[in-house]
Subunit: 121 residues, 3 copies
Amino acid sequence: MNITDTVQDLVKKSGIQDGLCLCNAMHISASVFINDNEPGLHHDYEQWLEKLSPHAPISQYRHNETGEDNADAHLKRQIMGREVVVAITEGKLDFGPWEQIFYGEFDGRRRKRVMVKIIGE
Amino acid sequence: MNITDTVQDLVKKSGIQDGLCLCNAMHISASVFINDNEPGLHHDYEQWLEKLSPHAPISQYRHNETGEDNADAHLKRQIMGREVVVAITEGKLDFGPWEQIFYGEFDGRRRKRVMVKIIGE
Amino acid sequence: MNITDTVQDLVKKSGIQDGLCLCNAMHISASVFINDNEPGLHHDYEQWLEKLSPHAPISQYRHNETGEDNADAHLKRQIMGREVVVAITEGKLDFGPWEQIFYGEFDGRRRKRVMVKIIGE
């Protein structure tokens, strides 16, 4: 889910011209990450993460003995990361040419929430 | 090792009401990361990291030719990350429902040290 | 590519004594990361990343159907991370004993650019 415009709007509303913007998933089976806005790549991420940390068999993870079945989502999130910190210059997210911010959910059972914190002057 | 309370205490002592808290491992074979406070999951992380970057045979890593045997720890740390940046709101770490901060050591031969830097107002 | 001295120079020029330094790759197939300044280890990273996300066959990645052949570079960058945030204390990068900042390019076809943003007082 591309959240770049939402974050950019929040930066604009904050009035901050020069500073840092922290953007993190509030859920521990999810990630906020920066990469290309290209659906094929997002498909590749899903396939690749499933290869590195397969969902099934769920019995392979001790976390799932607690009654959960989402241990793999906690692993996938560590690869993709929890947060990004983006520079703010002249009131805007100071990005490289293809940088876009995404929210990735690897479990899917929770309502999506992202923390955006903007500091500067 | 759960360091959430220690970091929270430092935020309180700083008097900062609104800002950012950087928390990073000072050792390059260790991580500071945010995830669930559930021992089964931590066991799963260890197993999974060992699968993705096995310790043995130590001869598979060129770094170990320097006399070290911890090349795998430097790899594991990249998956888990070096640092977290957490928002501070109303004088507290502004967490999602299950977020807790952990220090993970993948080598184990050094004294544990974590940097906590708090900025804001 | 070790960029520690360049970043340290920018911190010095900024005059900031106490704050945070964000340092991120501006390209989405590249990373800025902190680890050991040891060439053997850097070789190990390359081998390991190639094992976890092989370049070939390029047809295994849907992203490459767009005419690119660098899907693997976008995956490798997620493992190594986009950015680091480093504490600044007394006008210097506040590092652990072996911490050094590196730029890692996994595609190699673009001009290297890194964002350095320094805030504080």
